[in-house]
C-alpha cells in the first residue's frame, strides 16, 4: 500500500532531485567557464609580465651603467632573476600555433640577458663604448620583446578566437537551454502533479459518488475504488458497511413481510371470530339451553338426541374457544368426531366416516379449526349432492418429520378452478350452511402457522371425489404465530 504521505514525499524528492541536478550542472559549468577565463587571463598576464620585466631589466641596466655601484648591480641581478622566472613560466604557454614564435621569444629573452651581461662585462672592463653599444642593443632587444609580445598576443587571439567565440556561444546557448529546461520542467511538473493529485482525488471522488449512491438508498451497487492507499482502505471498510446495511435491509424487509402476514392472519382470525360470534347470539345462553335440552332429552329417554345436543354444544364451544391458539391434532380429531356425529344424525345411513389414525401422531400442534372446515367441505360437496350417500376417509400417518392427514370423499369431485382458488387462498363465498370458516382461510392459516407453503395438496378427478392431503411438520419453523396471537 502506497500511502498518500509517501506519494507526497516522492513528489517532493523528485522535484528536489531535478532542482539539485540542474543546480549542480550549472555550477559545474560556471566553474569550468571561470577556470577557462582564469587560464586565458593568466596567459595574457604572463606575457605582459615578460614585457615589463624586460623593460625593467633595461632600466636597471641603464641605472647601473650611469652609477655602477654594487647596490645597483644587485638590483639589476634581481630584475634579471625575475625575468628568468617569467621566462620559465612562459614555457607553459606553448601550443602548436605559437611554438615557433614562443621559442623565438624565449631566445630573445636569453639574448637580452646575454647582451645585458655583455654590457656589464664591458663596463667592468672599462670599455665604455662597447658597453653602451651593448646597452643600445639590449634596448633594441627589449623593444623587440615587447613587439613580439604583441605578436604573441595576436597569435593567441587568433588561436583562441574560436574558443572565445565558443565560450560566448555556449553562454548564449546556456541561457536558451535554461529557458527550455524551465519550461519543460514547469509543464512536466504540472503533468506529474496533475497525475499525482488525480491519484489522490480520484479515489476520493469515487468514494464520494458511492456515498451519494448510498445516501440515495441504492445499496446494491458495489463500491469499487482503484487505489492502493488509505482511500482504498476506507473504500473497503465502506463496502463492508454497505454489504452489512444491505443485509440488514433485506432482513428488515423480510421481517416486515412476516409482520404484514401476521397482521393478515390476525385479521383472518378476527374475521373467523366475528363470523362465529355472528352465528352465536349468546353462546352461554345457547350452551345453557343446549344443556337443558340435552338433559330434558335424556330425561325423556331420548338418549340419542341428548348425545347429539352435547356434541353440538361441544362443537360450538370449541369453535368459540380454540380459534386463537394452537391446538393438538388430538383436539381436532375429537371435534371432527363430534361434528361427524352431528352430521351422522342428519345424513343417517348416507354418511360413512372411516378413520385410520396413528395415535402417536396426535400430539402434533396445529392451528385450531383446521380439519373440521375441510371435513365440512367434504360433507357439503361430497356427500350432500349424492342421494345414495358417501364415505369420508380420514387417515393420519407418520411420515418421518411430517404428519400426513389424508381426507378423502367419493363425491362428484371438485372443479380445478376452485382448487386453484383454494390453493391461492382466494376468498370464496361460503356456501350457506357451513360453520363459517372457508377452505381458503384454513389453507392460509396453515401456511402462516408453519411458515412453509407446501402444507396442502388437493387432487380431484371427475366422479372420483376429492383427496386432500395435509403435510404438517412435526416441528414448527417459528413460533411467531403464537407470539403474534398472544399479542393480539
Amino acid at each position: 500500500m502506497i500511502g498518500i504521505q509517501r506519494k507526497i514525499w516522492t513528489l517532493a524528492a523528485i522535484v528536489m532531485f531535478i532542482m539539485a541536478s540542474i543546480w549542480i550542472t550549472l555550477t559545474y559549468y560556471n566553474q569550468k567557464t571561470q577556470d577557462q577565463y582564469d587560464d586565458i587571463l593568466q596567459r595574457y598576464l604572463l606575457m605582459n609580465e615578460v614585457t615589463s620585466e624586460s623593460s625593467q631589466t633595461v632600466n636597471a641596466l641603464n641605472i647601473y651603467l650611469l652609477t655602477p655601484t654594487e647596490g645597483n648591480l644587485s638590483s639589476l641581478r634581481r630584475v634579471e632573476q625575475r625575468l628568468q622566472a617569467a621566462k620559465s613560466s612562459i614555457v607553459t604557454l606553448r601550443n602548436e600555433k605559437n611554438d615557433f614564435v614562443l621559442t623565438s621569444y624565449m631566445n630573445l629573452i636569453d639574448s637580452l640577458m646575454e647582451t645585458t651581461n655583455r654590457s656589464i662585462m664591458f663596463k667592468s672592463e672599462r670599455e665604455s663604448e662597447e658597453s653602451s653599444k651593448a646597452f643600445a642593443e639590449a634596448t633594441r632587444i627589449s623593444r623587440y620583446i615587447s613587439e613580439m609580445t604583441l605578436q604573441l598576443i595576436d597569435i593567441e587571439l587568433n588561436t583562441y578566437e574560436q574558443f572565445y567565440r565558443s565560450i560566448i556561444e555556449q553562454a548564449e546557448e546556456l541561457k536558451k537551454l535554461g529557458i527550455w529546461i524551465l519550461l519543460a520542467i514547469t509543464f512536466g511538473l504540472l503533468l506529474f502533479t496533475y497525475w499525482f493529485s488525480l491519484s489522490i482525488t480520484r479515489p476520493v471522488q469515487q468514494l464520494t459518488k458511492a456515498a451519494q449512491e448510498l445516501a440515495k438508498g441504492r445499496f446494491e451497487r458495489q463500491i469499487v475504488v482503484n487505489s492502493s492507499d488509505e482511500i482504498s482502505f476506507l473504500a473497503t471498510t465502506f463496502e463492508r458497511m454497505r454489504v452489512n446495511i444491505n443485509n440488514l435491509i433485506v432482513e428488515i424487509r423480510e421481517k416486515a413481510r412476516l409482520e404484514s402476514e401476521l397482521q393478515q392472519s390476525r385479521l383472518l382470525l378476527k374475521e373467523s371470530q366475528l363470523r362465529s360470534l355472528q352465528s352465536q347470539i349468546n353462546p352461554h345462553f345457547l350452551f345453557n339451553i343446549l344443556d337443558t335440552l340435552s338433559k330434558k332429552a335424556f330425561l325423556e329417554g331420548a338418549e340419542e338426541t341428548s348425545d347429539l345436543l352435547v356434541s353440538v354444544a361441544g362443537l360450538l364451544r370449541y369453535n368459540l374457544k380454540r380459534l386463537d391458539r394452537p391446538v393438538t391434532l388430538y383436539d381436532e380429531v375429537r371435534v371432527v368426531r363430534q361434528y361427524m356425529e352431528i352430521q351422522s344424525a342428519r345424513f343417517t345411513e348416507r354418511l360413512k366416516l372411516v378413520t385410520q389414525i396413528d395415535e402417536h401422531c396426535l400430539a402434533v400442534q396445529m392451528p385450531g379449526l383446521t380439519l373440521q372446515p375441510i371435513i365440512e367441505n367434504a360433507v357439503i360437496h361430497g356427500i350432500e349432492p349424492l342421494e345414495e350417500g358417501g364415505m369420508i376417509t380420514v387417515k393420519i400417518t407418520d411420515a418421518d418429520d411430517h404428519v400426513h392427514i389424508e381426507i378423502a370423499d367419493n363425491g362428484p369431485g371438485m372443479n380445478p378452478d376452485k382448487i386453484q382458488d383454494i390453493l391461492e387462498e382466494r376468498v370464496v363465498e361460503p356456501e350457506g350452511h357451513s360453520t363459517g370458516i372457508g377452505f381458503g382461510n384454513v389453507v392460509r392459516r396453515l401456511r402462516l402457522f408453519y411458515g412453509v407453503s407446501d402444507v396442502i395438496e388437493i387432487c380431484s378427478e371427475d366422479g372420483q371425489g376429492v383427496h386432500v392431503l395435509l403435510k404438517l411438520p412435526k416441528t414448527r419453523r417459528s413460533d411467531t404465530y403464537d407470539k403474534a396471537i398472544d399479542r393480539g
Binding site: 587560464d39 614555457v91 623565438s104 613587439e147 574558443f163 555556449q170 512536466g188
Partner: protein
C-alpha cells in the same frame, strides 16, 4: 476530461523536452576545446625567410616554395618581412631573427652596410647561417653561406642578346637603375654591358633614380629630353619599370621603343601582357624558395659543408608579349 488535460500537458511537455534536448545537444557541441598545450619544444629546425617585399606575387611564390620544401623535410619555417621595401623594418626583422636564435636565416639580399653588419658580425657571433635568396650580396661582405636565385649576370646577358636581336646593333640604349646600386643590379648591368659592348653602334646611357614615383618620372623625362634619339630602355630594377613606362607613354607611343625589364615587381606581367614592354626576364621564385630551404637544411645537417659559395642558380627565361597572351 482527465485524459484531455493529461494529453495536452504531456504533449506540451514533450515539445519542450524536445527543444531542451536540441538546445542541450547544441550546447554540448558548441564547446570547443582550446588548442593542446605543448610541453616540449619542437625538435625541428627553425628557419626564417626574411624579405622586404612581402605580398608581391614573386615573393609569395618564393614563400610557397620554401614552405612546401620545409614541410616536406620537416623544418619549421616562418616568413617574416616588410611590405613595400621598408628597409628599416626589414633590418629590424633580420635582427630579431638573429636575436631569436633561429637555426637558419634565408634572406633577400640587400647591399647595404647595416645589412652586412648584421649578417657578418651579429649572425656570425650567434653562429647563425645565412643564405641569400633572389638578390645576392657578395660573400665577402655578408658572410652568407650561399646564394640561391637567378644568375643576375646571366639575366643581364640574356636581355642584352634579346635587345640586339630585336633592335639590331645600332641605337641609343638607356639603362634605368636604382640609385642604391645593389649588388644584383650591378651584376645585371655588367651582364648587359658584356653583350652590348661588343656592338660599337650601341651607346649605353645609365640613368639612376630613387624608387619614389616623382623621381622616376623626372629621370625618365630628363633622359628623353637629353637623348631624343633613344631607341631602347632596359629597366634593371623592376620596381622602376611601371612608372617609367607610364612616363614614356605620356610623351609618345611606347611601340617605337624597345623596353625590357625584370619580373620582380607585380605590375610587370600586366605590362607585358598589354604589349607595353617588349620583353621580361622571368625568374623561378618557387624553385628559389625550395632550393634555399634545401640548401639551408643540408648545411645544418652537415650534408654539404661548405655550400657552394658561388651560389645555386635557378632557371631564368626571356618572355615576350606573345608568350603571355
Amino acid at each position: 476530461m482527465h485524459k484531455t488535460i493529461s494529453l495536452a500537458l504531456g504533449s506540451i511537455c514533450a515539445v519542450f523536452l524536445f527543444f531542451t534536448m536540441i538546445s542541450a545537444i547544441r550546447f554540448v557541441q558548441s564547446s570547443w576545446q582550446p588548442p593542446q598545450l605543448q610541453t616540449t619544444q619542437d625538435e625541428e629546425y627553425r628557419l626564417v625567410l626574411v624579405t622586404k617585399d612581402l605580398g608581391t606575387p614573386f615573393w609569395n611564390e618564393v614563400g610557397e616554395g620554401a614552405k612546401a620544401e620545409a614541410q616536406k623535410s620537416g623544418a619549421n619555417l616562418e616568413i617574416w618581412g616588410t611590405y613595400g621595401e621598408d628597409r628599416e623594418d626589414f633590418l629590424k626583422q633580420l635582427e630579431i631573427a638573429i636575436d631569436s636564435k633561429v637555426d637558419g636565416i634565408i634572406v633577400q639580399g640587400m647591399d647595404q652596410d647595416a645589412f652586412d653588419n648584421l649578417t657578418k658580425v651579429k649572425a656570425a657571433f650567434y653562429g647563425i647561417p645565412i643564405i641569400t635568396v633572389a638578390s645576392d650580396v657578395p660573400m665577402s661582405e655578408s658572410m652568407r653561406k650561399t646564394y640561391v636565385g637567378s644568375d643576375a649576370w646571366e639575366a643581364g646577358k640574356t636581355i642584352g642578346q634579346r635587345l640586339i636581336s630585336d633592335m639590331g646593333d645600332q641605337g641609343q640604349v638607356v639603362l634605368m637603375g636604382d640609385e642604391r646600386k645593389e649588388y644584383d643590379q650591378k651584376q645585371r648591368i655588367s651582364g648587359i654591358q658584356s653583350v652590348l659592348s661588343q656592338h660599337p653602334g650601341i651607346q649605353i646611357e645609365y640613368v639612376t633614380s630613387s624608387d619614389e614615383e616623382e623621381q622616376i618620372s623626372a629621370a625618365t623625362q630628363n633622359v628623353m629630353n637629353v637623348f631624343p634619339e633613344v631607341k631602347a630602355f632596359i629597366s634593371v630594377d623592376a620596381n622602376l619599370t611601371p612608372v617609367m613606362v607610364q612616363e614614356i607613354e605620356r610623351r609618345s607611343q611606347v611601340e617605337p621603343y624597345y623596353i625590357y625589364s625584370f619580373d620582380d615587381n607585380p605590375n610587370i606581367l600586366a605590362l607585358l601582357r598589354r604589349g607595353k614592354i617588349d620583353g621580361m626576364i622571368q625568374q623561378s621564385p618557387v624553385e628559389m624558395g625550395e632550393t634555399g630551404v634545401k640548401m639551408m637544411l643540408s648545411w645544418l645537417t652537415g650534408e654539404t659543408v661548405p655550400l657552394n659559395a658561388q651560389g645555386y642558380m635557378t632557371q631564368i627565361r626571356m618572355l615576350s608579349p606573345e608568350d603571355v597572351q
